[in-house]
Amino acid sequence: MKGMKKIIVILSILTTAISWVSIDTLYRKPKPVPFPVPKGWPQPVYDFSKNPLTEEGIALGKKLFYDTRLSKDGEISCASCHQQFGAFNTYDHNLSHGFNNSLTTRNAPGLFNLAWQKEYMWDGGINHLDLQPLAPITAENEMAETIENVINKLKLDKEYQQLFKAAFGDETINTQRLGKAISQFELQLVSSNSKYDKVMRGEAAFILPEQLGYDIFKKKCITCHSEPMFTDYSYRNVGLPIDSYLKDFGRMKITGDPADSLKFKVPSLRNVAMTFPYGHDGRLFSLMSVFEHYRKNMVVSATTDPLLKNKMALSNYEIGQLTAFLYTLTDSSFLKDPRFAPPGNENSGKLPADIHR
């Protein structure tokens, strides 16, 4: 009789344990998220098979992207310098603010359509999206933290323990998972719904100045700012002379090749009206100053792009039409997409009041 009781107790404990296991398995299986490629776009270069997108992974990545604890003083997050209302650039800043009143040495680019990009940073020094966050996290003039400290902070946090488990199946928190999660969020930042895109899809029509601007664009700009990404991802010297303080030679720092002196990645022009100031160090304050640079202020040197050896002839009329066209590249649904908004601000997709172009 006593033995029977024991068996019943053991059996009931076992049944309960088994049910926990199965419920747990069901609960923690991350939900896959598809990655639709906009019509007419090339296939992405990011290898999704190594980092399958899931709801849980994206949610974790978003939390990390907006978490200031990734920095040494707990004040700076990825989002501090990559703000949604500026297409994830640092809005209205030539350089960004880093740890202890420091400044970065380059203009924070907007973040979108990263799945199509092979190399990151103005000089292309980083060869994989997952690796990219490690540079700003560890840079002394950005977040100034060590990878080890970041991982230790996350490991001590109960919520992160659960979020990593939900996203990756177990509680392991390491650099690889940190990078993969942030990538999952950043890969969601697809901007493909500007007026230009709607025109291309036959859902809208350009007004006359936009159409004239597009025609001029196709004659004078499209070789480097090629559709549909509005960059060919090449590195070119566009005649911005060396800044005597920053002494930034761009691509040459990565390749060590003097032929790459002063070459920087061609930036995408999507959302260009929102990503001022322009140039690798943000020295060109407005679209007007970019046009003035190309037609007048360029400093042509040995490595200046062959297409720009004689600068670029642009009339006032052409500048006007080009500007009208460039405005059609603003994707307001991207700028206000609640999925990308700071946690807690998902429903307040208002643009800042002081937009000046």
């Binding site: 020094g125 997952d130 720092k253």
Partner: protein, 241 residues
């Protein structure tokens, strides 16, 4: 009672079934044991040495990656061992002992890559010995530091009289990857292979590297290549057991 016996029988059967394939491969064990040297002296972090070029240095860090190990047996057949990455670090005595399972421990020579092969340099964030957290990865110019030697030199002209040699680069002409081959004299059965790594080679070999002239190497390029060429012969066989 009968049931318990049955259970034991089933368990034993399972164990035997599991053991059969493992025994079938009859893997043998070889242990690599690294001894770090400064010329004839044992390298001790914090101790002072005079380099082959007469500079007085104190070493604070000495680390390097070993990967893609293969073994050539007495018949001259080369077997590539399962790909694994080891960070050998003078500050971590366990890291200087590498246990390998090999098909045959009668060895004619052993080959390995000093560094991390290019594929791992372009495949995002890795784990374990290759975790960028280990301080052997350049975040601003993606790629592994294959080997690192740091310390203080009286001749160095930079702040703190430091010298810091972070040697990396995996692309084309800037590659610092080195394939090392160590031949076992009179092919023999090996249980323990004791390997010397002499930091003196970093300073004097095909090139002369003076901390007074080049105290810092922090990027791929000609200087990194020169130092890598130098240290490519830092390994030699100490003893075989």
């Amino acid at each position: 009672m009968n049931k318990a016996n049955n259970t034991i029988f089933v368990l034993a059967f399972c164990w035997i079934m599991l053991a059969i394939p493992i025994a079938g491969f009859s893997q043998k064990q070889v242990t690599l044991i690294f001894h770090h040297k400064a010329g004839n002296e044992d390298l001790v972090l914090g101790n002072s040495y005079t380099t082959a070029l007469g500079e007085k240095i104190t070493v604070q860090r000495f680390r390097y990656y070993i990967s893609n190990i293969s073994i050539t047996d007495k018949q001259g057949k080369t077997t590539l061992l399962p790909v694994e990455y080891f960070l050998v670090d003078e500050a971590d005595s366990l890291s200087k002992i590498i246990n390998l399972s090999v098909p045959d421990n009668t060895i004619g020579s052993i080959q390995f890559l000093l560094g991390v092969d290019s594929i791992r340099n372009v495949s995002g964030i890795q784990t374990g010995a290759l975790d960028p957290m280990r301080g052997m990865f350049w975040t601003w110019n993606s790629g592994y530091i294959m080997a690192k030697l740091e310390g203080i030199s009286e001749s160095s002209t930079i702040a703190g009289h430091y010298f810091t040699y972070h040697i990396g680069g995996f692309k084309g002409p800037n590659s610092t990857l080195k394939t090392i081959t160590l031949n076992i004299p009179q092919t023999t059965t090996v249980q323990e292979l004791h390997i010397n790594a002499d930091i003196n080679t970093w300073f004097k070999n095909s090139s002369e590297i003076r901390t007074s002239e080049t105290p810092v190497c922090h990027m791929p390029g000609p200087l990194a290549k020169k130092i890598a060429d130098n240290y490519s012969s830092m390994f030699s066989i100490n003893t075989i057991r």
